[in-house]
């Protein structure tokens, strides 16, 4: 494989940029998440050859960088301060949505991080369970269990939310 054609970056950014940013926000606040996504795209272009699976490479790199960033005490402190100040939207609010964007975000945030991660990768990054298993270095059955538990958790949360509103 030869060097990466810069014109392809635009396509990858359009295809995966938003999902990568959403993925990074599982660990970091929006500003830091975007910084990391940007750094990963730049790193991709400085690779000697195009990775075999660019999508998997991007998500793996963002995951590693985000977790590494979260471990950094300085960033964690900043993250907590900014998270306390404001809560960035994970989803665009649109009239045709079946679920309210803010409610969905609340439901997602209530999930355990391992279930939430699988949901983001499966639904918004449109990765297969096999690809997710490879990315997380877990068996497919484990990934599916987390996915199912995450969906069930969201459903319970939404049902609870509806009951609260009706009451």
């Amino acid at each position: 494989m030869g060097p990466i054609d810069p014109s392809r970056l635009s396509r990858w950014f359009d295809a995966y940029g938003a999902a990568l940013s959403l993925y990074a926000r599982q660990w970091l606040e929006a500003g830091l998440a975007d910084d990391i996504v940007q750094d990963v795209f730049i790193r991709l272009m400085s690779q000697r050859a195009e990775p075999r699976n660019v999508k998997a490479w991007l998500f793996r790199s963002v995951r590693n960088a985000a977790i590494s960033g979260l471990r950094s005490g300085k960033r964690r402190q900043r993250h907590e301060e900014q998270a306390a100040a404001r809560r960035p939207a994970w989803f665009e609010a649109r009239a045709e949505d079946l679920i309210d964007a803010a409610t969905a975000q609340d439901a997602m945030m209530s999930l355990p991080s391992d279930q939430r991660e699988v949901l983001v990768l499966r639904i918004w990054a449109t990765m297969t369970l096999r690809d997710i298993a490879e990315l997380l270095d877990e068996p497919v059955s484990t990934v599916f269990s987390r996915y199912q538990a995450g969906l069930e958790g969201i459903r319970n949360r939404l049902v609870l939310s509806c009951r609260t509103k009706n009451d």
Binding site: P3, G17, S46, I99, R155
Partner: protein, 171 residues
């Protein structure tokens, strides 16, 4: 996928509802990203060239340093067919004489001497010095034999020499 077929209708419903949500756009400046990414892709070949040049310069410097060092006198060891070392000989480094150091004619005098030889013949050549004469071995054997030929027979030249060799007489 087979695993996903095991989802309940309720879970599928939630999956579809979540899937309809669009992830919020990231706050990355697209133009800036493209510029930085393009710069990063150009910087890599530059690093390759810089690295290659540095390695070549280093190799050249090492090579010059090794060759400029004087070679110590070494010893050659010879081994016989049975593998035992039989003799050694000291190897003296060869010294190249300086140009013109031992030559009777130096530099630009050659052309002048050549012209004189062309004009006057071999008499124009300088007489060999005593040192240069004694430094040389005596003449070839045939000249020494020729000296033994009687003076009277010398006029016969090679014929007299041939006779001397065949008969062994010295008259």
């Amino acid at each position: 996928m087979q695993n996903e077929e095991r989802l309940t209708p309720a879970e599928r419903e939630v999956e579809a509802a979540l899937g309809a949500l669009r992830a919020a756009g990231c706050g990355i400046d697209r133009d800036r990203l493209m510029f930085q990414a393009g710069r990063a892709s150009v910087r890599r070949p530059l690093h390759i060239w810089q690295g290659t040049s540095a390695v070549l310069c280093l190799a050249l410097a090492v090579s010059l340093a090794v060759h400029s060092r004087p070679q110590p006198a070494g010893r050659d060891e010879y081994a016989s067919a049975d593998g035992s070392r039989t003799s050694t000989a000291e190897v003296v480094p060869f010294e190249t004489p300086a140009v013109g150091s031992g030559l009777p004619i130096a530099g630009g005098q050659y052309l002048r001497l050549r012209d004189e030889v062309l004009a006057r013949g071999l008499d124009a050549l300088p007489r060999p010095t005593a040192a240069s004469v004694t430094a040389h071995e005596p003449g070839p054997q045939i000249e020494r034999l020729f000296q033994q030929v009687p003076r009277a027979s010398r006029r016969w030249g090679l014929f007299g020499l041939e006779r001397l060799v065949s008969t062994g007489e010295q008259s």
